[in-house]
């Protein structure tokens, strides 16, 4: 965004943009922290579009299974909604959800300021 473009927008809109970008940055940092904590051991094969079937759920580490199961039950949810179900912190769920996205089990879609996570059951293949 150029200086002219920024000045032509309303200040509230600019602040919204900054907040969105900060949230994205925050999510990325949470994933990095989480990956460091688990020494990358959960991500053996970061394959795109890996089916989240029950055998996969069974073989997952406990902390990720809980998050993945919640998405299976809800169909589609934000980190906030998952955190309400699992009674863990939102930041923790956000990190696990993003980790599951990297592993190819979940998809992430942004709608405005909210990020929704879901298992892609409808794609062919």
């Amino acid at each position: 965004m150029t200086r002219e473009e920024i000045l032509s927008k309303k200040p509230l809109h600019v602040l919204e943009k900054i907040r969105e970008n900060l949230e994205r940055l925050n999510e990325k940092m949470e994933v990095m922290i989480e990956l460091q904590k688990h020494g990358h051991k959960d991500i053996t094969q970061p394959l795109p579009d890996t089916p989240l079937d029950v055998m996969t759920l069974l073989s997952m580490p406990d902390h990720l299974r809980k998050t993945a199961m919640t998405i299976c039950r809800c169909g589609r949810a934000t980190a906030d909604e998952v955190a309400q179900q699992t009674t863990r912190a939102r930041a923790v769920e956000s990190a696990y959800l993003n980790q599951l996205v990297i592993m190819g089990y979940l998809k992430k879609e942004r709608k405005g300021r909210k990020a929704y996570f879901y298992a892609d059951r409808d794609s062919q293949g």
Binding site: P51, M55, L57, C72, R73
Partner: protein, 259 residues
């Protein structure tokens, strides 16, 4: 909101189908709206027990995305004659259908899980069913684990057979626990459970071995065997001890008393 109850076991021949049919019929007798699902796609049997000769759509069709779940439901309420509603969703017994279901890939199984999970919204939520009872195939395979993941409560049927005891213990530890499922154990084909002392002794031994709550003990009744799956036992023999045991089990599940 109603509940999904899955009936599962480690080995075959433990009485899962007998339990499922009679548990579902007992719920209906208690005035509940119930649907019994045959999720044993490798050896479908409910069509024969419930004597449903033909149906336009099978449960296979719903899971294959060929129809909505309502097309699959067969209304059998008139057979029970009580105040409840009793429906069934049947697995297709044709060899071709069994072969087709055995060859599904992981992606299909994931979609099937989604279809089963969505029953919570359609049948329990919108259509106000009180209970969905899943009769599953034994052991660890996709269709039964999909059913367990979907269920709120798992009835685990077992017998005194050593291989069954060991397998069931392992399954409780390595399957139901991992999915954080509420379970209740039913010991079927119990011999010599007539005296109260014997019952109490067995009860405490079972709790030690399995570390899960006991839902019920079902003695070996010759009359049940003699019926050869030709009748819904609890419906046709309302005063038989087997019916009373099933009645108690259903009441425990209804009252959320299995802890």
């Amino acid at each position: 909101m109603g509940k999904i109850v899955a009936v599962h076991s480690y080995k075959g021949g433990t009485g899962k189908t007998l339990m499922s049919v009679n548990l579902a019929a007992t719920f209906a007798k208690h005035g509940k709206k119930v649907c019994l699902f045959d999720l044993d796609f490798r050896a479908p049997s409910l069509f024969a027990i419930l004597k449903v000769e033909n149906t336009e759509f099978w449960l296979n069709d719903y899971l294959n995305g060929k129809c909505g779940v309502n097309k699959v439901l067969v209304d059998l309420s008139s057979r029970l004659g009580g105040k409840g509603n009793f429906y069934a969703a049947l697995a297709n017994p044709a060899t071709e259908a069994i072969r087709d279901m055995s060859a599904k890939d992981r992606k299909w199984e994931m979609r099937a899980l989604g279809k089963l999970l969505s029953l919570r919204n359609t049948l329990l939520g919108e259509q106000k069913f009180d209970y969905l009872v899943f009769d599953t195939s034994p052991g660890l395979q996709y269709s039964s684990i999909n059913a367990i993941v979907t269920a709120d409560f798992v009835v685990v049927a077992t017998t005194g057979d050593r291989s069954d005891v060991n397998g069931t213990r392992r399954m409780l530890r390595e399957l139901y626990n991992l999915f954080e499922k509420k379970t209740g154990l039913v010991i079927n084909k119990v011999l010599d459970s007539t005296s109260k002392a014997k019952k109490d002794e067995m009860n405490s031994r079972i709790k030690d071995v399995y570390q899960v709550p006991l839902l019920g003990m079902v003695p070996c009744f010759c009359e049940v065997l003699r019926a050869e799956g030709n009748l819904i036992f609890t419906q046709d023999k309302p005063t038989h001890p087997f019916t009373k045991i099933l009645d108690e089990m259903a009441k425990k599940i209804e009252a959320n008393e299995v802890n």
